[in-house]
Symmetry: C2
């Protein structure tokens, strides 16, 4: 199995991406193709050194982190993300991983690889931390304006992914809404509720933001706008709470002492909140395995994203999604 890594993607690429690839090769025995500026990649690898499991595919251009995806796609035909995606298209790689410009990675994958047959819109599934166990949130930004059938399809894909990466059997799927009763929500969720209720999924009904972290469901389904807001609000709140605590701690001696003790005693909370454990989020529904990582990814995050990509290939994620979507759409067709 060969994974193409967008070596130039990410805030500190290619230093972090090359290190992540080396760690993945060592830890999981993967074969990784580093796609990007050959000279700079060689520099990071160490001159003249030949590493087993690592190869380089040169590309002359880089999409900047803040570049508009549409223009990147149109103008930079030899960008690292495009060359990496095209390796999947041509069968030279089994999956692609990028920590670069998220919009560009999404758009390139979408336009170069297309969608799995039957899928209407792609969805990004991310693993979120929970008190008891992590859960999947889908979509977090691939499709911001959704129809009910898209939410049904996100549920089907999220359900499959929860089985693949989290190893959950018969995952409980919840619809993110603003009240637990079937009638609560906006037009989109009310219509989506009916489709989910009629599906073969283990549908737990509506779930609210206040309960998603407490482990009531394995998969939380929503449109890409709401999911992205939830993801970023959660990130922002955790950072802001940490900042509030640090400010107060700095003011008081008791606080400082307490903080020292607490830090020593709390490795597990940190681990639960550490996004790099999962490394990346797949763009599901695409006709190929594409894992999108945070621009601030550490080498550990890159390593784990490569592992998630390999897992997804090994477990036949693309084919399972094709079958799952086909079955779900047949049911919708029969019911209507």
């Amino acid at each position: 199995m060969i994974i193409a890594l967008d070596a130039m993607g990410g805030d500190t690429a290619p230093a972090v991406t090359v290190r992540g690839a080396l760690e993945a090769v060592e830890s999981f025995g993967l074969e990784v193709v580093l796609v990007g500026d050959e000279d700079r990649i060689r520099q990071e690898l160490g001159s003249g050194r030949k590493v087993s499991g690592i190869s380089i595919q040169h590309s002359s251009e880089v999409v900047a982190m803040d570049e508009p995806p549409a223009s990147a796609l149109r103008r930079k035909k030899d960008s690292s993300i495009r060359v990496a995606v095209d390796m999947v298209k041509s069968g030279k790689a089994d999956a692609v991983v990028s920590a670069g410009n998220t919009g560009a990675a999404m758009a390139t994958s979408f336009f170069r690889l297309g969608l799995v047959q039957g899928v209407g819109r792609p969805g990004i599934a991310t693993v979120m931390p929970g008190v008891e166990k992590p859960f999947i949130l889908i979509d977090v930004g691939a499709t911001v304006d959704c129809k009910p059938v898209h939410l049904l399809q996100f549920a089907v894909m999220g359900n499959i992914y929860a089985g693949t990466v989290l190893g959950r059997a018969n995952p409980r799927v919840g619809l993110l809404s603003i009240g637990e009763e079937a009638g609560k929500g906006n037009e989109l969720t009310k219509e989506s509720f009916k489709l989910l209720e009629d599906s073969r999924l283990n549908f737990a009904g509506n779930v609210e933001g206040k309960e998603i972290f407490s482990g009531t469901v394995d998969v939380v389904v929503c449109d890409g706008f709401t999911g992205n807001v939830v993801l970023k609000t959660a990130e922002g709140l955790v950072e802001s709470l940490a900042q509030m605590f640090r400010q107060e701690i700095a003011k008081s001696m008791l606080g400082k002492i307490g903080y020292l003790f607490l830090q020593a005693g709390l490795p597990d909370v940190k681990k639960k909140l550490d996004y790099s454990e999962y490394g990346g989020a797949p763009l599901l529904g695409i006709n190929g395995i594409c894992i999108i990582s945070h621009g601030r990814s550490t080498s550990k995050a890159i390593r784990n994203a490569l592992r998630v990509a390999a897992d997804s290939v090994e477990k036949g994620l693309k084919e399972t999604i094709r079958t799952g979507i086909q079955e779900a759409m047949e049911e919708v067709f029969v019911a209507s």
Copy 2:
């Protein structure tokens, strides 16, 4: 000034509501009418005791916390929330406060009082904690399916409310979206962006969930579905983080010791996160002052909700909103 309090509304009503009213009368010299079952209210007040500033308006029915608002509105003509709202309608009270069934309080206020002239949809504005200072989030659930003009109106009303209750001069208004650039977002936010940009508001552009708590803007505008999800996700995350910490602390002696020191040193973080400081959220755009409080309100929250109601009346919130909306709509009309 007279405030009508739905004495039967809330998880522990009328015990907490009566106590909150007594505290408000004592602290702020308000006149409060307790609306609800006279016998039960008298019992809470202490038999035979006549309290200056407190009066009772009997009502024979109560809307349960989980009762569908529509049926409550149709069937319970003598419910405490309805009688309280009708006191505002008839001019016997200047404002109404309820910690009861939120949907019923919204629907009753909407149908009995109507909207301020020019307002298309009502919006609930809630005060959220931030690292440096609190901010206003509007709408958090009154109008779940919005048009761009509704978001413009929420911005106008939130702007006015930020001046009224937070004392902010020329508040910075942000549009909640999923990227900072104008072109990022869903159909609703992209269209709303244009209206906000053309308005006289101090518009700061799009804001993301990750920055709202760090104090970049005073008012965050979104549709009621997204706002409610943000509010509940924030609530759920804070509770879940606290639970994660407690679980870990319980496991380790160092953690337990640290926690003791930290608790002593951190009163200000707790205060920042204490929603009862603001007590309640106004249903803005309604032709009357209506403050909605959390079902789990403490007496302190009820007291502060009564203060917010009194502030809103004193500062002419309703009239300021009427003028503000009229001006904003004239600009939209001229521009189009």
